[in-house]
Symmetry: C2
Subunit: 302 residues, 2 copies
């Protein structure tokens, strides 16, 4: 693919039928070939994870609002949230909505906030299910989830709604750290095995505001977050396609998750950005998967 800017790359993806334009920025559709590659890449990760006997589960794109309330999400990322509002009034009050729409006016103030929000991070709904004491060896689970971040952008890699294949480890600090190191290497190796120019680096989350800068600096200093970066957008820094977070006891404390010893459990997670990695594959190897290098095809379609 020959695009020389992010906007051109998006157009190139659309012209090749890989993406489907759908109005709001970062909420486009995916074509059939794009999905075939996405499913094959996801299956490759799951095959790799299976050797550990990982548990599998699936949560919907909406989660309990109290999860983001308890974990300080609205302090750190208020600008990225997607809260679900709905209408709870009577028939007379309802009539105001179509009237506003007909007049081209906004109607969000006629709705009320519900008890659910869009899931901002694949692993979030898992932690409340661990409340209590985890088994001696902790928990290890995987899930595929649609996550949401309110950051409209013309960059095709900067989606508002996208899928993450997530791995989560809950347990004693040394077990969690060992798992994090194993998967940091595995995640990097999986992406390298697809002949992608991947690089591993320490990273920070995009915390909101001035206070956020201090949080980000602490995260880098303590090496709590790693990313695997791959060049996708022409002329722009490489894109994080895989991300590892060591949460220490943050979620253990928020959801009262204990080790058999009575101490608070630690946790870490690792997520592959599925669409981003698929875009990296098309960008690196071309628009037609049938023409990709044989070793890459063999990895994806064994």
């Amino acid at each position: 693919m020959v695009a020389s800017s992010a906007a051109e790359l998006y157009d190139e993806f659309v012209k090749a039928g890989l993406l489907i334009t759908a109005g709001p920025l970062g909420a486009f559709g995916r074509g059939g070939v794009f999905e075939q590659v996405l499913e094959a890449f996801d299956a490759l990760i799951v095959r790799t994870a299976k050797v550990d006997g990982v548990e599998s589960m699936t949560f919907p794109p909406v989660i309990d609002r109290s999860i983001i309330e308890r974990t300080g999400y609205m302090e750190s990322f208020p600008d990225l949230c997607g809260a679900i509002h709905s209408f709870v009034g009577n028939e007379r009050e309802a009539r105001a909505i179509p009237k506003r729409i007909a007049d081209g006016e906004s109607w969000g103030d006629l709705l009320g906030q519900t008890d659910v929000v869009l899931n901002p991070a694949a692993c979030y709904p898992f932690y409340p299910t661990c409340r209590g004491t985890v088994p001696e060896n902790g928990r290890e689970v995987t899930m595929l989830a649609w996550v949401y971040r309110q950051e409209p952008s013309i960059e095709p890699t900067r989606m508002r709604s996208f899928r993450v294949r997530e791995m989560i480890r809950v347990g004693a600090p040394d077990a969690v750290l060992a798992w994090r190191d194993t998967w940091r290497d595995r995640g990097f190796e999986i992406l390298k095995s697809l002949a992608l120019p991947a690089e591993l680096d320490v990273a920070a989350d995009p915390f909101f505001g001035r206070g956020g800068k201090i949080l980000a600096a602490g995260q880098i200093e303590q090496k709590l977050k790693f990313e695997v970066l791959i060049p996708v957008l022409p002329g722009l820094p490489p894109t994080a396609c895989c991300s590892f977070n060591y949460h220490q006891e943050k979620f253990g404390t928020a959801f009262e998750i204990l080790l058999p010893s009575g101490e608070t459990a630690h946790s870490a997670c690792l997520g592959f950005g599925l669409e981003r990695t698929v875009m990296a594959l098309f960008r690196t190897h071309g628009a037609d998967p049938a023409q990709w290098p044989a070793p890459v095809r063999a990895k994806l379609w064994p």
Copy 2:
């Protein structure tokens, strides 16, 4: 499964590890075995559809707000909508949110409505992509989508967030009607082939308010909606696991979709409620898929 009420059935699903409790009503998690069956059932539908050379695409759980504005959704189903609100203020204004949360107060009024809403019907994001003139033979597409309806319930089949395998046909009225009849039979046959006690019936959408009763009566009179119903909930009416809607020129008019003749295109869609059908399978054949009748297993895992 031996439950004698909807609530007991939910508990039975949870105890068997098929569902995972997650706070808000209708937004629970799905266990690994549940997902294996769901994937196998979805693959069965896709195999059946492939003989027609159907096009495949995928849209995120959020769609352009203008789609529900243009199609009268907020007139017919305001109580079911899920609108996405986010925070757009500055750092000082943002501080009010964690304060409200700490005080146990609501904070939805500090957010503003965005340009996206949760997708209420799998097919919605497809129609705007057809704007203009469709090919001579129209369009036929399939997609798997997470949809949202704001109807909290203890009935496990009445989810707020769930997956639909959707088929859509856009084209000339006679072609669309013929397709609807073919798929009405196919949908029924697929469910019967899984040894489910399925029944086909004319149906209506749950339109809002008193005016909605008239719309529903018209829908039934014109036979615009069919459903395949399967008993799932103990002591309650059977559950719609597959639903067919003939929209006539509704979406063609809303999104200016034309036939080569210059006339407005018609459309119809058919959706399988994936979780509902999987629940019907567990309810009918028991909690362990390894023990299901051999012909059912052969259909799902050929």
